[in-house]
């Protein structure tokens, strides 16, 4: 098999994997936007917050320890235990649900019926507030996220070596893909299937779609908007947690994690703000697109580092020619 072609395919696959991560972040945006018309700028910070909470719980850190120490003159930092990853994830999910409730209760309940721009501004405020809270709660130093603390290997290992060996045997060229990426893709796929099933076949999912369509009408048939919005923010929080785990495991939990939200923007423009499949496909296209572009055109002809801007250029093109995105809600108009 042609070496160059094989290498291109490998870049393609790696792009797909990166795309999955973009898609995960974009998914959180889509959920909230669809159900409440709020463009949640804080989605990236939510991923950061979730990841920090997870690490904090795992390591048995005392929340707000700096604050407590400063006030009471104590010197506590850790409980002295460590929590199993699985349990820590579940606890973090509860924290994210509590966060969803608080956001709804203290911010958006008071802004019902306001202009979208005001809601958007509120989420910007929320983003910085949350960033501050995360800092205060868990400290700002870079942390390593390891989803396997006690038991060793919780993430299935060795899939990549298997893949490499198999492809080498079959094609004479072993594809190398990061093991974490494979796991991330599988989890993302499961997550999406789960979300779609939930939205399509359950009562609450149906109510969620109803609210997305016409929240006045949903209100009129007795759907509690508050409940649905808390539900949606919780789901978005859960998605943020998954995204936070994946990104955190890849590059450590630090404040730059919140910037992945910016990477999700072009994905949304490409896929459409209202489509779950759109977020996935958009993410994959951006992931593959930027890797291939860098490999085939960027590095040889443009001096590299095209990955930084390629996604935004692509999004811009889409905005010009297809503003609702690839899968944006079909605009139903009857006269």
């Amino acid at each position: 098999m042609n070496e160059q072609l094989a290498f291109t395919i490998e870049v393609f696959l790696n792009g797909l994997m990166a795309g999955v991560l973009y898609a995960l972040v974009a998914l959180g945006f889509v959920l909230i936007y669809k159900a409440s018309g709020i463009f949640n700028y804080a989605q990236g910070v939510m991923a950061l917050f979730a990841a920090m909470t997870l690490v904090g719980i795992q390591n048995g850190q005392v929340p707000f320890s700096h604050l407590i120490n400063a006030i009471f003159g104590t010197d506590i930092h850790k409980f002295g235990w460590s929590v199993h990853s699985f349990l820590a994830i579940i606890l973090t999910v509860f924290v994210m649900i509590a966060l969803a409730w608080a956001v709804q209760r203290f911010v958006f309940r008071h802004l019902v019926g306001q202009e979208p721009i005001i809601l958007f501004m509120a989420t910007i405020g929320l983003a910085y507030f949350l960033e501050g809270v995360a800092d205060l709660m868990w400290g700002s130093e870079l942390k390593a996220l390891d989803v396997c603390v006690a038991e060793g290997a919780c993430l299935p290992q060795g899939m990549n070596t298997w893949l490499e060996a198999t492809t080498y045997d079959a094609l004479g060229y072993g594809f190398f893909i990061d093991n974490l990426d494979i796991v991330a893709s599988i989890i993302a796929a499961l997550l999406v299937v789960g979300l779609v099933m939930f939205a399509q076949y359950t009562k609450q999912g149906r109510a969620m779609r109803a609210v997305a369509d016409d929240h006045q009408a949903a209100l009129s048939v007795g759907v509690s908007l508050n409940f649905i919005w808390i539900l949606v923010w919780s789901l978005a929080g859960f998605v943020a947690l998954v995204a936070g785990i994946m990104w955190g495991a890849k590059s450590g939990v630090q404040f730059s994690l919140s910037l992945i939200a910016l990477k999700a923007l072009p994905v949304l423009m490409l896929g459409g703000f209202t489509s779950i499949p759109g977020a996935i496909v958009g993410g994959l296209i951006i992931g593959v697109g930027e890797k291939l572009f860098e490999f085939l055109i960027g590095a040889p002809f443009l001096g590299g580092a095209t990955e930084n801007w390629f996604a935004y250029m692509l999004a811009l093109l889409f905005l010009v020619f297809r503003p609702q995105g690839l899968f944006g809600e079909k605009i139903i108009e009857r006269v």
């Binding site: 149906r206 109803a210 016409d214 009129s220 048939v221 007795g222 759907v223 509690s224 139903i332």
Partner: protein, 277 residues
């Protein structure tokens, strides 16, 4: 003796609206003291032109005002004697009052059947009962059965009106607040919709409060009517009497003894019904 009891049940007021005042955005006064009673098992019509306050009255009852930044600032709304103003709309639906909004408001991207099922959101009496009611709705609106798998956004105006009404029926309501069902529909279809309202009222015993601009049709099907004008009730009476009333004929039905009048010569109807009369 038995007959007297029956008569008492007849005038039993399910819903009482007492002199309510509604203000939007803390500045726009829309209702300036509206009072009305809705007897159990009847069809009560709320008539009047654009901006008279019909929709606002219905939304005050169903609790939808809050989401439009409106509030009831004076007066009271009682359902079965319990105050229901400022209640969460979901609570109101649970207590048996559901509103069918003006302009249909179907969930466009949901299928007709999903729309109907969403109507049963507040119910907890099991899938069987809900399936039975779905069947009931399909029997009232056979057209919906044919379209049950299509997205509501792609159905016709009449089908959407049926969908909205069927969706309300799915909550097993005691009272339906029906806002402007005739809007934008062909006269034949309007007639059909009202026939269905009548049979739902008779067979299922559902009480209706109906806001309509189409005074003619509304007074033919309703038992009692209130006429609203710029936020006040200016006249009320049994539908039969209102139909015969000279002023109603002139202002709302466009009929008068001297033949047709130019709209310029028609003065708006100003007599107020005093609150303590």
């Amino acid at each position: 003796m038995l007959d007297v009891n029956a008569a008492e049940v007849q005038v039993d007021n399910l819903l009482e609206v007492n002199n309510i005042e509604v203000i939007y955005n803390s500045v726009i006064l829309v209702l300036k003291g509206v009072s009305l009673n809705v007897p159990k098992g009847g069809i009560t019509a709320l008539l009047g032109g654009n901006g008279a306050g019909k929709t606002t009255t219905l939304k005050a009852i169903s609790g939808l005002l809050a989401s439009e930044r409106g509030e009831v600032t004076k007066g009271s709304i009682k359902y079965r004697g319990d105050p229901i103003q400022d209640r969460d709309p979901a609570e109101t639906v649970k207590s048996g009052v559901v509103q069918v909004m003006e302009g249909r408001h179907c969930f466009e991207h949901l299928t007709i059947e999903e729309n109907l099922l969403t109507g049963a959101y507040t119910r907890s009496d099991g899938k069987g009962a809900i399936a039975d009611d779905l069947e009931m709705v399909y029997n009232y609106f056979p057209r919906l059965r044919e379209r049950r798998k299509s997205q509501a956004g792609y159905t016709s105006g009449g089908e959407q009106q049926m969908c909205a009404m069927g969706r309300a029926l799915m909550s097993r309501p005691e009272t339906i607040l029906l806002d402007e069902p005739s809007m934008g529909l062909a006269p034949q279809l309007v007639e059909q919709i009202f026939e269905i309202v009548k049979s739902v009222n008779e067979k299922e015993g559902v009480t209706f409060l109906l806001a309509e601009q189409n005074t003619n049709v509304a007074l033919r099907f309703a038992h009692y009517g209130y006429i609203l004008e710029s936020g006040r009730v200016v006249m009320d009476g049994p539908a039969k009497d209102l139909r015969e009333n000279q002023d109603v004929k002139e202002f709302y039905l466009g009929m008068s003894d001297e033949g047709r009048k130019s709209f310029r010569d028609v003065r708006s109807y100003r007599r107020r019904k005093r609150w303590l009369s």
